[in-house]
Amino acid sequence: MREISLHILDIVQNSIAAGANRIEIKAEADTKRDWLTVTVKDDGRGIPDDMLERITDPFVTTRTTRKVGLGLPMLKAAAEMCGGGLRIGSVEGKGTEVTAQFGLSHIDRMPYGDIVGTIVTIIAANPDRDFRYEHIVDDRVFVFDTSDIRRELDDVPINALPVLNWIRGYLEEGIARVGAIL
């Protein structure tokens, strides 16, 4: 993966595969402590304890189309490469929370990348699930929640192209106000 935003798209796919109805993404850049912390939290079916222990092993996967699962191991490597790490908490039947921490100014940290592209892609392909994105730079916060959008839409699907277009612009503006994470 070339960007943290692509890792986010990838981790959200796990939440979707786990049947989550609501997925909350949070990215927080703390310039004083020099951390970038990304959290993906879902209400999916959760991960059994014995699986959780082995989940960052590339040869562990629930899929049947191939025998390796590289998503979490790659994210773990990307985080550890810049002095951070990966934490996964999960309760069966309740949900999962994945937290990746990166050294914000570390030379080996991959760029945050196109988060707007990631969010629009997720919404376009999953109109029946709710997503929340919190973008925090120090004490400035931007929050986007599809449940707020849905209230304005009536019977219009959230992935209708004019709506997606508006969401793209809304996210770009909101993130620019708070400050882009590079």
């Binding site: 993966m1 692509l6 798209l9 990838d10 796919q13 595969a17 899929r63 189309t65 191939r66 699962g69 590289l70 998503g71 790659m74 196109d114 592209g117 990631t118 629009v120 892609t121 376009a124 392909a125 999953n126 707020d148 959008i149 304005e152 839409l153 009536d154 019977d155 219009v156 992935n159 209708a160 192209l161 004019p162 709506v163 997606l164 277009n165 508006w166 612009g169 809304y170 503006e173």
Partner: protein, 121 residues
């Protein structure tokens, strides 16, 4: 500045379109979004598809996603299913190819055979 109030106008506009075609969907595009697909550019492919559909004013095609299909070396992989035609699986779909597939196949009705890796009736 964009506000949630803008959505009212957009809603009315889309509702008008929906009325015209009575909710009928003409076709379906599926982008594979496994780790392999994402690492190969599936997000950019998806963005190009959405952008091209919007540009061409196509509003009756469903765009959705699936996971890894086991053909990781051909990612990004995109399926196109149009009524009266076999479901076509395209491989190595760059954003440029994606735009050509939208215009040639989804709008023009012609399967772009040089990029096809599988067909299913």
């Amino acid at each position: 500045m964009k506000t949630l109030a803008d959505l009212q106008k957009i809603r009315e506009q889309v509702q008008k379109q929906m009325k015209v075609r009575e909710g009928e969907q003409r076709g379906r595009i599926v982008v594979a979004m496994g780790t392999c697909g994402i690492a190969s550019g599936a997000r950019e492919t998806m963005s190009a598809i959405l952008d091209e559909l919007e540009k061409q004013g196509v509003s009756d095609v469903t765009v959705t996603q699936t996971g890894c299909k086991g053909i990781c070396d051909k990612e990004p992989v995109v399926d196109v299913a149009m009524p009266g035609q076999p479901t076509v699986t395209y491989g190595l779909v760059s954003p440029e190819r994606a735009r050509a597939i939208v215009n040639g196949h989804v709008i023009g009705g012609e399967i772009q055979s040089e990029w096809v890796i599988a067909q299913q009736d």
